[in-house]
């Protein structure tokens, strides 16, 4: 598959009063054309920093890129000037944020907000702009779009606002959509509507999606491939089927067994991961999951393993993959 986006050796840190926080540590991944890639992990694992790095929305300082390249469409985004980035942002790459309540301007009519970017980039007349806004609201299935364009955000419910956010992101037919927890603030029935809508629009416009979420159910529903992040690093990557049916890293396994599933018996125990993720002021020298891993060995403490490829699409970094490690088959993970 053709690569639309490629992130190479990306490291992002934040300078703070107490020292440097290494939020993202040397990650590599790619997103293919019209593919959906999910990035999962707990809060503070670096998934949102990764997304914001692609869009270059991080406040600099305190944030800075330590190393790496972000290749989009053959060009390195980190080499772009501010002005060049502006024409990419919202045009070729768009973003949908978590909280539709706070990411819309409360003093601006919905229709105007949707086409604000377009008017700026393409100099539309006001009647053209309005037409376009109505067309976009239609696309995201907001009822009565002619009336709705003239309303303000407070007149919309949470689900409707998230539809507006999606309309806003879609207005310039982006090639890549970054959705950062797009349904976390919504109820399940509304979440189902929004996910369905995103899939439909993806098919229509043939775009790629990076989906950032901690909800493994949403991941299973939406994504072709899954990237598992922990403490600023990627621990495992694979197709959706590989990650859910044949997880290789102990963290992925534990993550999957710590959520109750509708189709599991109530008597099955729910595994919890004891402890908390490490502090990224002083990231651990060895494997970042060492403290919380049941299968931790001596070598894990001071040495971070490299990736092992299980096949073309599936890779993970864990010393258990090593031929000298003891088998963990049958042990409870």
């Amino acid at each position: 598959m053709e690569k639309l986006l490629e992130v190479k050796n990306l490291s992002v840190s934040f300078k703070t009063f107490f020292g440097e926080v290494e939020a993202v540590r040397n990650i590599n991944f790619h997103v293919g054309k019209s593919e959906t890639v999910a990035i999962v992990g707990e809060s503070g694992c670096g998934k949102s920093v990764t997304a914001n790095s692609i869009m270059q929305l991080l406040p600099m300082p305190p944030a800075f890129f330590k190393s790496g390249e972000i290749i989009f469409n053959g060009e390195n985004l980190l080499k772009k000037t501010n002005k060049e980035m502006q024409s990419i942002r919202g045009n070729e790459i768009s973003m949908v944020f978590q909280d539709p309540m706070t990411s819309l301007n409360p003093t601006m009519k919905i229709g105007k907000q949707i086409v604000e970017g377009l008017v700026k980039h393409r100099k539309l007349s006001s009647s053209e702009a309005k037409e376009k806004a109505i067309e976009m609201l239609n696309l995201v299935a907001v009822p009565q779009p002619e009336k709705r364009v003239n309303q303000y955000p407070h007149e919309f419910s949470g689900g409707m606002r998230q539809r507006v956010m999606i309309a806003l992101a879609m207005v310039s037919n982006p090639r890549l959509l970054i959705a950062d927890e797009p349904t976390t603030a919504l109820d399940v029935t509304v979440q189902a509507q929004i996910l369905e809508l995103m899939k439909e629009i993806q098919k229509k416009l043939d775009m790629s999606i990076i989906l950032i979420t901690h909800d493994l159910g949403v991941v299973a529903e939406m994504s072709d491939r899954v990237i598992v992040m922990y403490a600023g690093q990627i621990l495992e990557e694979g197709t959706s089927d590989e990650i859910f049916t044949d997880p290789k890293h102990p963290y992925t396994k534990k993550l999957l067994s710590s959520v109750p599933r509708l189709d599991m018996s109530r008597n099955e125990p729910l595994f919890s991961i004891e402890g908390t993720p490490p502090d990224l002021y002083i990231p651990p020298k060895g494997c970042s999951f060492y403290d919380r891993c049941d299968n931790a060995m001596k070598i894990c403490k001071d040495n971070m393993p490299d990736f092992d490829r299980h096949n073309n699409t599936h890779r993970s970094r864990c010393w258990l993959n090593h031929s000298m490690a003891q088998s963990t088959e049958g042990s409870e993970v």
Binding site: V188, A192, E196, G217, F244, V259, P260, L270, S272
Partner: protein, 317 residues
């Protein structure tokens, strides 16, 4: 078995200027000793208001609540203080529900202070340490402030506070929603252990249906202030009767791509309507695919449709 809590036609209305907001509009159910009663529904359905009205944090508009045979809503202020020891609450947001200026020791001993539940200074300190150890913290945490703790640890402090007076009944209002998945499991397991140890009875309010199914013995489904369905957990999830419950269950994504691909989903159109001046008839009628004329005219009665399985729907016989 005698129920520990019997709610009869509980109502809580708010006057909001443009009309009457009927947050809770006639709930009746029993909670038995030692069980976990789950209450689910989407935002705005009144589940949190129901929880707060039940422990009388809100004064009810109407209804009766029997606890140990006494109607709690008839009690005077002083009598209520006594009953309060048996009723406790765990709140949703561990960041907002702990006073940032108080140390953990002060936070956990606050209920003990109010009810004079210790003999002397040393007894108080011992009790605090015992409580902290019960929830997986320890003595050295006692002198710290809430901001020094992670979300999961803060929720543990909230639980220690709730346990301080040896309550019988705890309302947990979305106790894990603000936590990461791996931490959620820790807190849920802790709540289950404490229940076994002290024979606690829980009312567990949440919007995460898979977690509610896992933790609860019986589950009630609320929609716009009404109870739509109530059944033992397995029964509710395997044989839902109400169209709303069916739609709600089918909307939950299952973390397994293979199952997820082959599932048929019941899509609900639109959003939850406003609870201000609701129309007569079934509350779900505008979004229900099976709605008939009678659904628009008459509010269906919440009744036992199968043994131990209650529902409010005209179309379920």
């Amino acid at each position: 078995m005698e129920p520990l809590i019997s709610a009869r036609n509980i109502k809580k209305h708010f006057d909001v200027g443009e009309g009457i907001l009927k947050a809770v509009d006639g709930l009746s159910f029993d909670i038995y000793p030692g069980e976990t009663f789950g209450l689910v529904g989407e935002s705005g359905c009144g589940k949190s208001t129901a929880g707060r009205t039940i422990i009388r944090l809100y004064d009810p508009t109407d209804g009766e609540l029997f606890f140990n045979g006494k109607n709690v809503y008839d009690l005077s202020r002083r009598e209520m203080q006594e009953v309060r020891k048996d009723f406790q609450m765990i709140f949703q947001d561990p960041y907002a529900s702990l006073n940032p200026r108080m140390t953990v020791e002060e936070l956990v001993s606050e209920p003990l202070d109010i009810h004079h539940a210790y003999k002397n200074h040393k007894d108080r300190k011992d009790k605090v340490i015992e409580l902290l150890e019960l929830v997986g913290l320890n003595e050295e945490h006692a002198m710290r402030f809430p901001h020094e703790f992670s979300g999961g640890q803060r929720q543990r402090i909230g639980i220690a506070r709730a346990l301080a007076l040896n309550p019988k009944f705890i309302v947990a209002d979305e106790p894990i929603s603000a936590l990461d998945v791996s931490i959620q499991a820790q807190v849920v397991n802790l709540l289950k252990d404490l229940q076994d140890q002290f024979g606690l009875t829980y009312m567990f309010i949440a919007h995460d249906l898979s977690m509610v199914r896992y933790i609860s013995d019986r589950v009630g489904v609320m929609y716009l202030g009404h109870m739509m369905e109530l059944a033992p957990s397995e029964e509710l999830y395997e044989n839902p009767l109400h169209p709303y419950t069916k739609a709600l269950l089918s909307a939950i994504p299952i973390p397994d791509p293979e199952i997820q691909r082959s599932r048929k989903r019941i899509m609900l159109e639109g959003d939850v309507p406003s609870p201000i001046n609701p129309k007569p008839g079934c509350r779900f009628v505008d979004r229900c695919a099976q709605a008939t004329d009678i659904c628009r005219k008459e509010t269906p009665v919440f009744e036992e449709k199968r043994p131990n399985h209650f529902a409010a729907c005209h179309n379920v016989k």
